[in-house]
Symmetry: D2
Subunit: 135 residues, 4 copies
């Protein structure tokens, strides 16, 4: 079996990521994770340009996210994402957000995605690049 | 000349609207204003449903926004928007955000919009409903 | 056992809620859900004003969200949220997002929350209002 | 007179930056610009960490933004920001967003900022690093 592809992206926490509790707002992490997932998708034949040309999109159908510790304004974060498993019509990615200064694990997440042909919204098979990771 | 149409919407400040400074983030007010502008647009023949069916969209081409006083978590706000002027291919809306508890004027804004036929991005004339407000 | 409190909020899908796939972006639903949760929290003694005065906040520690069908620009949505269960230091809310025009169930979600004394980040017991719902 | 400091940041347009018109939403550019402004601020003695320790924040009091051409999903953008002028209690930054592939100028913006001591919200003098740019 091929080794599962992964990807890391980096964030510096901006004011617009935080809330009046003084920490990063829970929704903001999902933007960080989307960036990692997008870069990971590009490695799997699912680049944004290719998806918008073909109309065949990877669509999030489920998100699970656990908040362990809060990130603060100005923190430097690393988001690590990887392909966890691939089936016939769905695949699953996992993510970990860590703070660079103390390596604290702040957030873990898991997302299921399906391929959908837009604009009809018709479910579609995974692209060939993903088939080799079929579990 | 016909009286210029206006619209009011109401917001309760949520955590996701605030930042670590303990106040509403400057960008969040533009979501509040977009909601008012959308409702105002519906009165001017520019409803979301009609725009997405025709592909003829009112597009923001300039925003000016002044921040006078900060809103806080849980504040109840009123956003008042009105058509300021209409030309051949552009129109202009103005907005005021006030806090309900003390009537403080927090934010004022002005946006210029143009009609654009998507997906080509071709500039287009204003709809008939707007012509009567031509200055 | 007391009947579990619930709350409904209403949304009209704005441009800023949608993405280039032509549908509501997956992250936007979490803003809708936060509004419902905030109103539900106010019924449970957790109003925003009271939380910001006491520094004792209900913090999301886990979100699960399933995307069944997409909402479109201009759709009118109802978000129904209710207290699912309450323990000693955590409680759990559930949510359903439906489209008003066809009553389609678009999104379901579940969030776990904990009480945290800020800025120290110290875990704290649930407020008295929630104790009667202890399972 | 010292040469005015500037800063460039880079963005890849994500789904969450776009809207159902198929282009980057007008509000999303203000997140791009905030990132550039934050990095520029760090060069001017206004780093996020220093601001959150001192409670002395640079606060946006006015934004002007012009939308010339739309950015699309997957576009690579460069945001160039620079200090335009500094007074006693206010300073002004300007920004240009260009697309890397064709160097098209998409968006221009100008923001006025003031120093505010939080949480009292008391106006404050600009930091020493900015005085040398006084016009």
């Amino acid at each position: 079996m091929a080794q599962h592809p992964d990807c890391k992206t980096h964030e510096e926490v901006m004011f617009y990521d935080t809330d009046a509790g003084g920490v990063v707002h829970n929704i903001a992490y999902l933007r960080f994770i989307e960036k990692t997932r997008t870069r990971l998708g590009a490695k799997l034949g699912l680049s944004l340009k290719r998806m918008s040309e073909s109309g065949l999109y990877a669509v999030v159908i489920r998100t699970e996210i656990d908040y362990h510790k809060p990130a603060l304004l100005g923190d430097h974060l690393t988001v690590h994402g990887w392909l966890e498993e691939a089936g016939k019509v769905r695949f699953c990615c996992a993510f970990e957000v860590t703070r660079d200064s103390d390596m604290a694990k702040l957030v873990t997440s898991r997302q299921e995605l399906a391929m959908v042909q837009m604009p009809e919204g018709r479910p579609s098979r995974l692209p060939k690049e993903l088939e080799q990771y079929r579990t």
